[in-house]
Amino acid sequence: MTDFEIKKKMDEGYKYGFSTNIESEDFPKGLNSDVIKLLSLKKGEPDWLLEYRLKAYQYWLTLTPPTWQYCQVPEIDFQNYFYYAKPKQKKANVESLNDIDPELLETFNKLGIPLSEQKRISGVAMDVVFDSVSLGTTHQEDLAKIGVIFCSFSEAVEKYPELVKKYLGTVVPYTDNFYAALNAAVFSDGSFVYIPKGMRCPIDLSTYFRINAKESGQFERTLIIAEDDSYVNYLEGCTAPQRDENQLHAAVVELVALNRAEIKYSTVQNWYAGDKNGKGGIYNFVTKRGHCLGVSSKISWTQVEAGSAITWKYPSCYLIGDHSTGHFYSVALTNHKMQADTGTKMVHIGKNTKSIIVSKGISAHESSNVYRGLVKIRPSAKGAKNFSQCDSMLIGDQCKAITFPVIELKNELASVEHEASTSRISEDQLFYIESRGLTREKAVSLIAHGFCKEVYKTLPLEFAVEAVKLIEMKLENSVG
């Protein structure tokens, strides 16, 4: 590649960086109990939920932000954010996707997410969350006919309060951590999924998150409940426009799998990561956890994290039911000045539980990529088995890859295996591949894809294709 071509590619940047000109409803900046009451009022929430929020807020006030993470998180002024940013709709009620502001629809078209009937044909139901509000969920009626509930969290609060009350905060209580408490106080919207007994959900469910408004935080809350013998495949995609200020994304995802149920949760995250000097970008501080409550239940997390200025998340599984299984497959890529501190927790509680962890970290430029894994085998977890594989690939000589694997083993009849490797893409490997006709960039991609293959295989096909393209794009110009 000539110097000119290289520079052009570097300036190309983040293609989702455009923002949408749309009026947002006015809402005061800052965080206090009045703001929370107003938020709850605007959403028309019942008293029990407002009470929950206020309790969480009071608890949050007693906490200080954590400092144990490896990444450097600048001080966040929580009063300097909007905790609600609903795009003003031309029509008061959104009956169908046709009622959505065309500007918004255009945004999603640009992102390659058509909300039209075309998606219906492709067989994926979609909930679209723009800033803090769910704009619409496709396929709702069809799914409702077979007992599957897939709607926005707000709608679930209104229509299925018993279900929400039963499970909200049981997997991630507001006392869990600083950001979980914050989320419980100010969460705006997210997705709610309920799969009835014996139902193998016939289509994939997906939510697409887009943060647009300036200086806003996105605090979505997702709750997925899979009853006995049910199955669901859930996909989550995320982008945000390019802004100089950092935007905060502190979401909470709770998964509950009952007897012999299976939940597959896949994420491809490409939040704006900041410019190459580290200015701007999303702070992605997320608490995701699944309870394998039932016997032989299974929860699989697959994530491809290639964006955000700072990624801080540990999708985890609590293996409570006997014979339950937890999987975690992850590719975390950092470049320029991105930082990632991510990994998982597998807590074995029931008997004969199994967990598999496969983590692939790729770091380039001056970025820092940390894997933090906890495998906890409680005394009750007889016959527990864990396999962890944690691989790091370093590109260039300025990046960092760090691993903190922690194993707490309190039952003698358990087996835990851990493998780790660190590799660099060597000049010799690149030359070998180039000498067969591939350009340097294609050579880097080939090696990186080979490295991540095991994780891609666990993604649904469409997502796998998107993940491959995303990683390629992010690796452009990572090798000098």
Binding site: Y432, S435, G437, G450
Partner: protein, 248 residues
């Protein structure tokens, strides 16, 4: 096909090749022999575009289908696409990437470059099978990662498989015979002979006469201290074998 004129190459400031001249015509097999450190490997790696070698003087013209190209100005990948192939002395391992994947990707890029239709993966495997058989390679090696856990002989065979797959105009073979037992040597030589025809050419770097029992050279060059000091026919190799490099 290849016209090297006054080539000078340095590595980290140290000159290795000093005013080398060499011409190779289509249909010819050239062999370079010489003592260790004479610059033989440096020559072929430089031709392939290895970044560690700095060309300080000279020109290299690479002519394919009557089009003359300035080889030294071309990127490594372009040199390959235009018809140059290097069989490495020490092929590197590429974990995570299967042989099939690697071969297919290279093949695809060559097809696209020549405007030839890209076959399906199954068609490509069928295309590879006879070549694997010729080289006495088990087809399931295609699912193994590139050169990972391969013996020396297997690595060299893999290089020749790539040669047969990509079918270049000019093949540079860097000590392809080193580390091979007699059977492997025969198989590899047969591979090279199958490749060779009137419109392509080969430049083989070797220490030993043994290879030349199976691959008939047209010209033999003796390289010492970065220069070709003598060229001749096949009988030159026998002379070297008898008298050693001291005869020079």
């Amino acid at each position: 096909m290849l016209d090297i004129s006054n080539l000078k190459v340095s590595v980290q400031g140290t000159p290795i090749i000093n005013e080398l001249n060499l011409t190779i015509n289509p249909g010819e097999t050239h062999v370079i022999m010489g003592p260790n450190g004479s610059g033989k490997s440096t020559l072929v790696k430089t031709l392939a575009g290895h970044p560690a070698y700095e060309v300080t003087d000279g020109t290299v013209n690479f002519t394919v289908h009557k089009k003359i190209m300035n080889l030294l100005e071309m990127e490594t990948s372009e040199r390959s696409l235009k018809g140059l192939f290097l069989s490495f002395q020490y092929p590197v391992e590429i974990p995570g990437v299967t042989n099939l994947n690697f071969l297919f990707e290279s093949y695809k890029y060559h097809c696209e470059s020549q405007g030839v239709t890209v076959p399906s993966e199954n068609e490509f495997i069928d295309f590879l099978k006879p070549k694997c058989e010729l080289l006495k390679m088990n087809v399931d090696f295609l699912n193994r990662n590139v050169n990972e856990g391969f013996s020396g002989g297997e690595k060299k065979k893999n290089e020749i498989l790539q040669l047969l797959t990509l079918n270049p105009k000019l093949a540079l073979l860097d000590e392809t015979d080193s580390g091979l037992d007699v059977d492997a040597l025969k198989v590899v030589s047969e591979g090279v002979n199958t490749f060779r025809n009137k419109s392509n050419a080969a430049l083989i770097v070797t220490h030993y006469q043994r290879l030349l029992n199976y691959i008939k050279p047209d010209v033999i060059h003796l390289m010492v201290k970065g220069k070709i000091i003598r060229s001749g026919g096949p009988e030159l190799a026998l002379e070297v074998e008898e008298k050693g490099y001291g005869l020079l």
